[in-house]
């Protein structure tokens, strides 16, 4: 059994991501699109067992609403920020894109972290490149 990280995200419109987008833009953060996923770590014999385990967990996954995929990287990628509540095992992964559809630069991610996405009193955040 080895640990694997998976991303569970909505396949229907994500109102929370849209609300974050509107709030960030109001705060002056230059972002054009926001995506969100919940990152979880599971112990499984192989990739397919990990995916199947999540798909069977009705507390995590509703096939009508969610899709799940493996996350191969161990740290956030460009344009991405991972936020973990200090008392939680899962993380929220936010992806921010600019007007051209490219990942926003690190400085913008840090701005978004400080302005909205992370409350440092109860959460920690890791910012991508």
């Amino acid at each position: 059994m080895t640990e694997r990280r998976l991303a569970v995200r909505l396949k229907v419109p994500d109102n929370t991501a849209y609300t974050a987008l509107v709030a960030l833009r109001r705060l002056g953060v230059p972002v054009a699109r926001v995506e969100r996923a919940t990152l979880i770590v599971v112990a499984a014999a192989d990739d397919s067992a990990a995916l199947e385990g999540v798909r069977r967990d009705e507390a995590l996954f509703n096939a009508n609403l969610h899709e799940v995929e493996l996350v191969r990287c161990s740290a956030p990628e460009a344009g991405e920020i991972w936020v973990r509540a200090r008392d939680a095992s899962s993380m929220q992964a936010w992806r921010l894109f600019d007007e051209d559809g490219a990942p926003v630069p690190r400085a913008t991610l840090e701005w978004a972290r400080d302005a909205l996405l992370c409350n440092p009193a109860i959460e920690t955040a890791v910012v991508g490149r």
Partner: protein, 237 residues
């Protein structure tokens, strides 16, 4: 007569009982919905009531705290206007950085976060005033050590902060109310959510902003010494 705005965000759900109880004590209290935020600057005081503003998206109170509706509230608090937040309103005040107020505006230094154990609770509780009443103009008309009934109705009411901020809360008299038994004893059993310092409510440095997690306005019959004290404070301010 001074005016009190009870803010209504999308998802607020305790505004009617809040405005009704403020009026019991003679306040000129009015509901102000998010679509009328431009009128907020005209009011003398603000109350943020309970609910789930913006569905608590991202974190409890996070979006509302950064909403344009909070601009006049933050400006008013800086001018010394009285601001009281109850339950979700309290979460919003912490997210806005107004309470404990040691951080910059909209830079939170503490939070009312997920209960321990991590369940929504709905039960009658008692809260005890732990500061000298005159520490805050909002509590000035309460008796020292007053024990007040209220209803805890939240899934995220546990005070959490870093060690430095927690020491600041304890040492600089921000801890306004703690959970207590009806006879005033304070212990873990009386604290329904694992809140640090048994905290039920925090006040800012200047004493004009109070964040209280349980609902005094949901007690029946509808009377609240805290609301009465708040209205007296508004009239005196």
């Amino acid at each position: 007569m001074r005016s009190v705005a009870v803010l209504v965000f999308p998802g607020t759900n305790s505004e009617e009982e809040t405005v009704r109880l403020l009026r019991v004590y003679g306040a000129d209290a009015r509901l102000v919905h998010w679509s009328c935020a431009q009128t907020l600057g005209e009011y003398d005081a603000y109350v943020l009531s309970g609910g789930f503003a913006y569905e608590d998206r991202i974190r409890a109170g996070a979006i509302a705290a950064r909403d344009a509706m909070m601009d006049p509230v933050i400006d008013g608090a800086r001018q010394g206007k009285l601001v009281m937040g109850i339950c979700n309103g309290a979460q919003i005040l912490l997210e806005a950085g107004l309470v404990p107020g040691s951080g910059d505006s909209r830079r939170p230094t503490a939070a009312f976060t997920r209960n321990v154990p991590p369940h929504f609770i709905c039960k009658q509780v008692y809260v005890k005033l732990t500061v000298e009443p005159r520490r805050s103009i909002i509590t000035a008309a309460l008796a020292a050590g007053a024990v007040l009934p209220a209803w805890a109705a939240h899934g995220e009411g546990r005070l959490a902060a870093g060690a430095e901020q927690m020491a600041q809360i304890a040492n600089e008299n921000h801890l306004a109310f703690v959970y207590a038994r009806a006879d005033g004893r304070v212990d873990d059993a009386a604290t329904p959510n694992g809140s640090a310092l048994h905290c039920a409510g925090l006040v800012n440095r200047d004493g004009n902003v109070l964040a209280l997690m349980p609902h005094p306005e949901r007690v029946f019959p509808a009377r609240s010494a805290l609301f009465e004290s708040f209205v007296k404070g508004v009239e005196a301010s």
